[in-house]
Symmetry: C2
Subunit: 393 residues, 2 copies
DNA sequence: TTTTTTTATGCAATCGTTGTCGGTAACGTT
DNA sequence: AACGTTACCGACAACGATTGCATAAAAAAA
């Protein structure tokens, strides 16, 4: 390892304005390549002031020899302020780039113009698409969103909910964690006046706006499609039993079997009580299906992670899709068409669901006193048929 | 459409505690199936109180006939409070489930015990994994994270940065948007004392902690692998030219070609200035490569979206991977091994990068006065070779 | 000129919390 | 008896912004 002092030349898109003391950990052939080795030794004094000094209404008042109340009113355009004074204040505020302190406002008004999102996981295409939908609506209605994920843990859901409530979000959009069957924390907040809208994984026994996909129909169609392809031994790999999505999809699955006169085989139905967060659990479930005395010839699986995991496992066990086992997923995987084989999937209108939930919530926030007609919206799913569910000839 | 009044029976996991007036939009065969049709007509009065009444220190003071200062000190365990009083206060606070108001604290202390994350997109495996890493560290050092995405837009990055600063986050973790080459907004905040740590897409001309993957080496290895497989006409599909990741990967790519005596063909290098957010742009770039007079026999592509898009397009154009065009991606796609063909990829240690960046940031936040030795850490990437880059025999 | 009205501004309280300062007992020391 | 210590506790200001109320000055009406 060598240590040397280099002045880097201006070159390419970079402009180095500093002298570096660089410690190289690999030999380099050109100065430019230096950017690819570990630069360790830049010593530099950090700016010491910790106070992010921003202009307050008080500063404006002092500078213009006015009182804070006058400034405040001038900025809000109150009619009782002299137009001239108003202009003065406005101009000064503009020039100094004044922005009202949202924290002070939150404290005073007990609201924050922000809404909290509580979801299981952002590393999931369905949820990240939904978030984008929420942001789009919130953004142009003047709200910010605060995202928190609970990683399918009830504990974390609780903590996050409390935190957001303390932070005075004006409302919550929730998709329940895989562990949540107790909803007291939400009920309490709601009874204290905090609007809550559920989406995707919605509780049954709870009166508020709810947005979800039509899981029953989606599952029915997926199962019916498999049946129509000629599969008869259809398994169902799904999320924790107490979630609405699980129940509704299960019902759709069963109904499709019934309608086609296929008996329901309970040992074909596998719940993963952590929604795929624990690989071992999924592996156990899938292996049980694969090594079932009457091995299923198709799997209808719920959720991104369950679907990708089971595809991996089926392949790992040396079975072919769809020849040995066909598969249809209930998933919004963006790369579904690129999988091997291309994955047939029931997709949910995630973006629209997020938008709708947010509209519901902001309506609740901004029109709080009137009697509200709570709605439960179900949006249509779409079955996209690809290779993974086609019966070989 | 029929309208009827139903009392739903207790059954399964559901307990209906209310009488519903249900408007059915599809015919149903059993009461249970009702959950799968659109329930439209639930009329219900929302609780009217908008004030989320919470217990404050003042309430405790009043209830116990003490002053607020005494209560405050008792709660913080100050030595100058009578143990008996302390116990009284503590117990009462516990019983009433008192939680200090974080907003008031933020206002008073000009800090929030939260850190802001500014990234291009959460619907991206690399970033969502990184966020998980950040959360894990922040969480057990007593911080919350606030996530904001800019969708590769400079405008949004600016707005989000301002917002987070106003919200008094104690520091920022940033990965630049595809449009950002002006960094004044960060510089200004930093000069005012707000610690900032960059990760992944780091600016060159900026003195602070930085965390990134070793893009140069990662790109070098990927390219060298393709060369070693026997490919010679290797194209590079990448992100906007001014981003650090682009530059570093490009240098690695070029270096590998050079070292193997392969001339660099500029028309094989395609930049997508919106990082894959605009499908048309990617399509144009990929088609130009495919219809190049000297069609490349391999593509080294950066980013999740660029990689999946180019795979789609290559397939759509009727070409085979890797027979006609091989491909290696710089991506953290979790389903890479399931793609068709299984995708060879350079993966970054996203989780660890997030952790490290957060540790850096919290160190800056909590040890602000001393002279700090800023570091630029590069973490090793990993090349996983799968089918998509194997030269057919 | 005097009274009333209008216009424009300031004061002070408020939100929840904490730091500074000061005060009051009870007790011990000369 | 006078003073100092110690232990405990409360009043007040401050953080940034808003708002009801008071009020001064100016304008209008008498």
């Amino acid at each position: 390892m060598q240590s040397l002092s280099v002045t880097l030349p201006k070159r390419g898109v970079f402009t180095f304005r500093y002298f570096f003391l660089v410690t190289l950990q690999k030999s380099v052939s050109s100065p430019l390549q230096i950017i690819s080795v570990i630069i360790e030794g830049i010593n530099c004094t950090k700016p010491t002031s910790r106070t992010v000094e921003v202009i307050t209404i008080k500063d404006i008042a002092k500078a213009l020899n006015l009182s804070t109340s006058t400034v405040s009113r001038a900025l809000r355009g109150s009619y009782e302020i002299n137009p001239e004074t108003k202009r003065l204040v406005m101009e000064y505020a503009e020039r100094m780039n004044y922005r009202p302190n949202p924290i002070a406002l939150s404290l005073k008004e007990n609201r924050s113009r922000s809404i909290g999102i509580i979801i299981p996981e952002i590393a999931n295409n369905f949820f990240s698409q939904a978030i984008n939908g929420m942001e789009s609506i919130a953004y142009n209605r003047g709200y910010h969103v605060v995202i928190s994920q609970n990683h399918e843990s009830y504990e974390r859901e609780l903590v996050n909910t409390q935190y957001l409530a303390q932070r005075r979000v004006d409302g919550l959009i929730v998709s329940l964690s895989g562990e949540s069957n107790d909803l007291e924390h939400f009920k309490e907040l709601q009874s204290k006046g905090l609007p809550i809208v559920f989406f995707d994984r919605v509780p049954q026994d709870y009166i508020t706006h709810k947005v979800s996909a039509d899981n029953f129909v989606g599952a029915y169609e997926a199962t019916a499609h498999l049946i129509q392809q000629g599969f008869r031994k259809i398994a169902h790999l799904t999320s924790p039993s107490w979630l609405s999505i699980t129940y509704e999809r299960l019902e759709g699955y069963k109904k499709a079997l019934q309608n086609h006169g296929i008996p329901i085989e309970e040992s074909y139905i596998k719940y993963c009580s952590h929604g795929g967060m624990i690989p071992e659990e999924v592996e156990k479930a899938v292996l049980e299906l694969i090594h079932h005395p009457e091995r299923p010839d198709a799997i209808f699986s719920a959720g991104d992670r369950l679907t990708t995991s089971s595809m991996s496992l089926i392949k790992r066990e040396g079975l072919r899709i769809p020849e040995d086992i066909a598969i249809v997923g209930f998933t919004n995987l963006i790369s579904a068409h690129l999988l091997s084989p291309a994955l047939s999937a029931v997709t949910q209108p995630a973006y629209e669901m997020g938008q709708l939930a947010t509209e519901f919530l902001i309506d609740l926030i901004e029109r709080p006193k009137s009697t509200i007609r709570f709605e439960t919206k179900r949006l249509e799913t779409k079955l996209v048929i690809r290779e993974s569910s086609l019966k070989p000839a």
